[in-house]
Subunit: 254 residues, 2 copies
């Protein structure tokens, strides 16, 4: 039975999608059967694998709200052997649509039931907001990865995120645990980055992944080629860091 | 009567809050009476002026949902003479609370009615999602500033944002217009940044502000001191760029 992991942080632009796409690819390249779920209406994780949302027959919206078969929605044959449940812009108004359904918070969990046995790990990329979509992600998951840019606003938002996780654990999903906090876009020359990182080590040392993702332009370039950086430029510092994270993640959590 | 401007982009981490805080301060320093409205439950614009959300008697939540007087919520006496309508974490579940009210999409517009005459310009910092809070912002505004990081995912999200703006203009607020697209965190040494910027010039030249905000660490450091960069380090490249933007904005839109 697979480990289902939510990649979440309501702070925008901290590297959630870049982590979801590259960790999924790196885990798959190490032999873990991997599914990536794109819960963000921006559909960035979908684009990161070169899939244009407008070209799809069906998206996650259809299986979460309209009960379309998850097998019809799943995209296979992608880079690094990762399978994908793609997102679509029509998920933008999803909160209201979900509220009208029975047990709105666990739709994703029941949707995944048909295919979960095919995988060793399922990664869920979340939108930058604590809404019904991200609650669905937390409801379906057993683990959580929190990407963290080492800057002031991101640090300030961390305690609100940890409170939300506690609330969901108590109300919806008692099995939920934090697999780790991942430092992203790390620039060792910046005092701010080092200061914030020192605070993370002081208050959250046990939760921090030892792997730190450096700022590396190849990670930002890869999506325009429709491939994870671990495929587009496997020798780049960014790709190597995500490969190291995959090794650490398998050892620590799988 | 003031110009009310929404600073919006559903792509996360593109510099919305940094633009709202620093442009508000720079406009106020040039003599425009300025109000900053923080519509994001992360309350980053509130933190950017050194105000701790937990220490407040009331927040925007109280006036939007509970009809508390806007005068009680407003914070004055801040850096650079900017007034603030602060946010609070309890705004996270706002979408559901707003839906239950009469005319949910124009609550902000009617809330601002009592104090708008005190100002020349009102800036609204929006959350990284197209939900009821950001629709409220668009419903109250006459202008829009779109901060844009020159990277692939941000560029891909632009057309979805422009569609949403068209929808709100047709359904809720016919006066809505785009004041400009602002290139942020611009790194001239990066091919990706220059490529994306060239595409913006090709397709959106008329909408682009001539001022470009460089990547400058002082902009990221200033919030931890509770001040805009135009106050914390007025001679820094980031602060100078926002002062130039304020001059361009006054000439072009006020
Ligand atoms: N380590 C890195 N080095 C350089 N660029 C990076 C790195 N990680 C991410 N990026 C780039 O920074 C931007 C933000 O990253 P990304 O989109 O993955 O964040 P996110 O948290 O998913 O954003 P959102 O909140 O909008 O979902 C993207 O343009 C991405 O390509
Ligand atoms: N020009 C810049 N140079 C360097 N750092 C910057 C610049 N602009 C913003 N930052 C930093 O980048 C991070 C993201 O910026 P900011 O929080 O303003 O974006 P946002 O769009 O408001 O994010 P969100 O989507 O979470 O609301 C912050 O840590 C900020 O301090
Ligand atoms: Mg993302
Ligand atoms: Mg912000």
């Amino acid at each position: 039975t697979p480990r289902v992991v939510c990649i979440i942080n309501q702070k925008g632009g901290v590297g959630k999608t870049t982590t979801a796409v590259n960790l999924a690819a790196a885990l798959s390249q190490l032999g873990s059967r991997t599914l990536l779920v794109d819960l963000d209406p921006q559909a960035n994780a979908t684009l990161g694998f070169g899939v244009q949302p407008s070209s799809l027959r069906a998206s996650l919206y259809d299986s979460l709200v309209e009960d379309a078969s998850i097998i019809e929605v799943r995209v296979t044959g992608l880079a690094a052997g990762v399978d994908l449940l793609p997102a679509h812009g029509d998920m933008t108004g999803m909160d209201v649509a979900l509220q009208a359904l029975e047990s709105p918070q666990t739709r994703l969990k029941s949707t995944l039931a048909d295919i979960r046995a095919d995988y060793d790990v399922i990664l869920i990329d979340c939108p930058p907001t604590l809404n019904q979509l991200s609650i669905n992600g937390l409801g379906a998951a057993s683990g959580i990865i929190i990407p963290m840019q080492c800057e002031y606003y991101a640090l300030e938002g961390l305690s609100a995120l940890l409170d939300t996780i506690d609330t969901v654990r108590d109300a919806v999903n008692p099995a939920l645990e934090i697999d780790g906090i991942l430092r992203t876009m790390y620039d060792p020359r910046s005092n701010l980055t080092r200061d914030v990182s020192r605070q993370l080590v002081r208050y959250f040392d046990r939760l921090l992944f030892r792997t730190v993702i450096p700022r590396n332009v190849r990670l930002a370039e890869a999506p325009s080629h429709g491939e994870p950086a671990t495929v587009y430029d496997a020798k780049s510092r960014g790709a190597i860091a995500y490969q190291a994270l995959a090794v650490e993640y398998r050892r620590r959590c799988l």
